[in-house]
């Protein structure tokens, strides 16, 4: 990365709140410039800003907690080592998601797609016991259905639905066009609807 480019990014970051709409400025860009220069403090700020959401993404992608933690650890090691390869063309967030997704793909290829429900840490829904049980059962069905999707469809849905990335950012993270992303999303949601519809019917029949 050239000094001129870095200076431009830093200036953009400083002026972001004054002259430009927030969505046009990548708030992490200036941080990445410092990380690329070996600034450990900047790297730790990046960890604070993104580690939790990347862990959530990895966990939803591969289906178990321990593997997700390994993926995130490996990903941040790559971030520290290869920060200089980041270019301002790529939004930092999408670059990070892409790293985690690639590491996740490596893990998925290494093992069979099995999921141990005990590996997933669930948050307390805070609802009434019956409602909580119902939601828990539905969540288990959703997780099973999600894990049954082809990886590309699963990644697309996790990025857009759970990580709330825009279509442009999600397609950038996956390295595909927006049209291809929308196709993956539509096919994935159709498959989920079919899988959850049949399971829901099974559940209704067993309770009769």
């Amino acid at each position: 990365m050239t000094e001129t480019t870095r200076a431009g990014i830093l200036a953009d970051g400083l002026n972001a709140s004054i002259s430009s709409p927030p969505e046009e400025i990548d708030p992490d860009a200036a941080l990445m410039v410092r990380v690329a220069d070996g600034d450990a403090a900047a790297y730790r700020l990046l960890v604070d800003r993104h580690a939790d959401r990347l862990l959530g993404f990895a966990e939803r992608l591969v289906g178990d907690r321990a593997t997700a933690e390994d993926i995130v650890q490996d990903s941040f090691l790559s971030v520290w080592r290869t920060a200089a390869s980041w270019t301002p063309k790529a939004k930092v967030t999408t670059w990070l998601y892409r790293i985690v997704r690639n590491k996740g793909l490596d893990q998925i290829r290494k093992r069979k797609p099995t999921v141990n429900p005990d590996d997933v840490v669930l948050t307390d829904p805070g609802a009434a016991p019956d409602q909580g049980l119902h939601d828990r059962q539905t969540a288990d069905m959703v997780r099973t259905a999600m894990d049954g999707l082809p990886e590309r469809q699963r990644s697309a849905i996790v990025l857009v639905h759970y990580e709330n990335l825009s279509g442009a950012d999600a397609s950038a993270a996956l390295g595909i066009s927006i049209e291809a992303l929308e196709s993956l999303l539509a096919r994935g949601r159709r498959a989920l609807r079919a899988a959850l519809s049949s399971r829901r019917q099974e559940l209704l029949e067993t309770t009769r």
Binding site: G38, A40, Y43, R44, V47, D48, A51, D52, L55, G56, E59, R60, R65, A68, E69, D70, V72, Q73, D74, F76, L77, W80, R81, V120, V121, L122, T123, P125, D135, R136, T138, A139, M141, V142, R143, M146, I157, V160, H161, Y162, N164, S166, G167, A168, I178, L181, E182, S183, L185, A186, R189, R190, L192, R193, L196
Partner: protein, 168 residues
């Protein structure tokens, strides 16, 4: 301002199929005209309701909990990079701490077994003979090898009564 000519019913259906029933997930440039068309089109409202059911089911999946301990470990990476580079060169198949932990566990088990097992020279003559009877090889090749290495005489392990003649 009218938005009616900006988007087709088919395109809005594509948006609903792909992004679901929450307009905030739709592309910003198409959001307003698409919402306007949904409000005026019964078929699109039905599509929205169907998509909303799936959205609600997806939302029942809980958000994974953060791991503060992991964050602490991640922040140590800049300080540990030389050691990790060295370990990664030896173990390029994933996180290097895993094989390191395996080796440490194997070492601990080995030390534990070594500490609690009686030394070989404390075995009595009877127990040594029983052990040798149970493990004595019977094939001629192995026996020849043992003989070549001093089997049948004092073999340096403090064991007596070691003989291959009966098996031959």
């Amino acid at each position: 301002m009218t938005l009616r000519s900006n988007i087709s019913e088919r395109r809005v259906l594509e948006l609903i199929d792909a992004y679901g029933a929450v307009p905030a997930r739709w592309p910003a440039t198409e959001r307003a005209p698409a919402m306007d068309l949904v409000a005026r089109t019964p078929d699109l409202r039905i599509a929205m309701e169907t998509a909303a059911v799936l959205d609600e089911m997806l939302d029942t999946r809980p958000t994974p909990m953060p791991n503060p301990a992991l964050r602490v470990e991640l922040k140590k990476i800049p300080d540990q990079r030389h050691g990790l580079d060295w370990l990664s060169a030896l173990w390029p198949f994933g996180a290097p701490w895993r094989p390191a932990m395996g080796l440490a566990a194997a070492l601990a088990v080995g030390l534990l077994v070594g500490a609690v097992s009686p030394p070989a020279d404390t075995l009595t003559g009877d127990s040594a003979e029983i052990m040798l009877d149970q493990t004595a090889p019977s094939d001629p090749v192995t026996l020849a090898g043992l003989t070549a290495f001093g089997g049948g005489s004092d073999n340096g392990f403090g064991l007596t009564g070691f003989s291959t003649e009966g098996d031959l």
